[in-house]
Symmetry: C2
Subunit: 250 residues, 2 copies
């Protein structure tokens, strides 16, 4: 209870009940115009057969490295390889309710990842039970993972407002229309094409022109679109605010 006692305790961790630290990852990507999250199907109790966020125990490594490692294992890709090299990863929050895991006290550090469209997890790897699932079809998840997913989605929606991270869902070159498709998928709202176009170009450092255009127009017609790459801005100023933000204000 006293400060000195704490110092003593700190040298004797076995005086405390066993406690584990895990990382769980909310990995988001966009497929076919819809926002998807990477989920695994648990093969053992508790919650056997339920879907869960990919994650696992932290080893002798930084927390973010554990998140990247788990993600790489579940997708069958290697960190720094191919599309995983362009991954955006940020810490989301930590969850440590004593009852959140029925086996023992587990504190989980959740991470949020934005990925360009990735292939399906490789069959035969650790990731046999992993799949990209539309976020609207995630359903019930193991442990408190539904709450973690909800927090990740809300964070992602907010981040698109004031950061250029929407580009993290795209390749290194993209059209304004593709960028708008990211916003509509994450926010779940249609955006006015013309206003969005002008606004994106008016924010300093959001995108920069490559001088190129697409090789051909859209599948259903339309002119060739100019290609852009991500700019050097870390924050959008002014921000792109969501249309419907009156709800939830009170």
């Amino acid at each position: 209870m006293t400060t000195e006692q704490e110092f003593l305790d700190s040298y004797d961790p076995s005086a405390y009940p066993a406690l584990a630290v895990t990382v769980d990852v909310v990995a988001l990507t966009i497929r076919d115009g819809d926002l998807h999250v990477l989920l695994v199907t648990r093969g053992a109790p508790p919650f056997a057969g339920h879907r869960a966020l990919p994650g696992g125990f932290v080893r002798d490594e930084p927390l973010a490295a554990a998140a990247v490692r788990e993600l790489a294992e579940e997708t069958g890709l290697h960190p720094g390889e191919g599309e995983l090299a362009r991954l955006h990863l940020e810490q989301l929050a930590s969850y440590g309710d004593p009852e959140r895991d029925p086996r023992m006290r587990v504190v989980s550090v959740a991470y949020l990842a934005f990925a360009p469209s990735l292939p399906d997890p490789r069959a035969g790897s650790d990731a046999a039970a992993a799949a990209w699932v539309p976020v609207d079809s995630a359903g019930a998840l193991a442990f408190d993972h539904a709450a973690i997913l909800a927090a990740g989605l809300e964070r992602a929606r907010a981040k698109l407002e004031y950061t250029p991270l929407a580009t993290a869902f795209l390749g290194d070159r993209f059209t304004i229309g593709e960028l708008r498709a990211v916003y509509t998928a994450v926010w779940g709202e249609e955006l006015h094409a013309g206003n969005f176009h002008r606004k994106v170009l008016s924010v300093p450092g959001f995108v920069e022109s490559t001088g190129e255009t697409t090789a051909r127009g859209g599948e259903r017609g339309g002119p060739r679109a100019r290609l852009y790459r991500a700019g050097d801005a870390k924050l959008l100023h002014p921000a792109l605010l969501r249309p419907s933000r009156e709800e939830g204000v009170r």
Copy 2:
């Protein structure tokens, strides 16, 4: 390495190296117009004699409860008692670099607290070494606490933009001038009094009038000010943006 192996491991935590979880609290308050943070002076190695954020090991309790408990111990106040009852507490981030504590692997969950002006920590309590320190005078801190404090300050500055949490630094009734003093203390920038006044009143749900005024004018003259209390808004719309946000955008 495989998913099944993880399930087995999860039942045998002793297979993993000893690991501790702590909470550290960035507790902010405003005294004499300046932003202060609660710091303790360490009495034992490592970092003996250095200042540090208040914190300690997590017990059989939720993480937020551990943060409140540590804060109560250091200030000598009891949770839910007096000013501590009005405390705003939110999770900040977790810090788990393997080298951040020289003794052992410690993962710390940092919390951020906004408090109305609190008394000095009680002499004779656990808090004998605790004190409110102006954030500009914090200097070097033990472990990675300087980085945690910096993250807390940035979070606080950002939160004041789009939430009504500035009122968490004030009593249950306050003037617009007192609210403006919170903003100038946290942001470190002067705000135009007239524009601030009109803007605060124009944001729905930020403050609501009590119909009362202060008993007397300012110490150096001026009329009596109307008294307000916090409104029911959870988000400010439109937000109060910091004047200088061009820097750090790139």
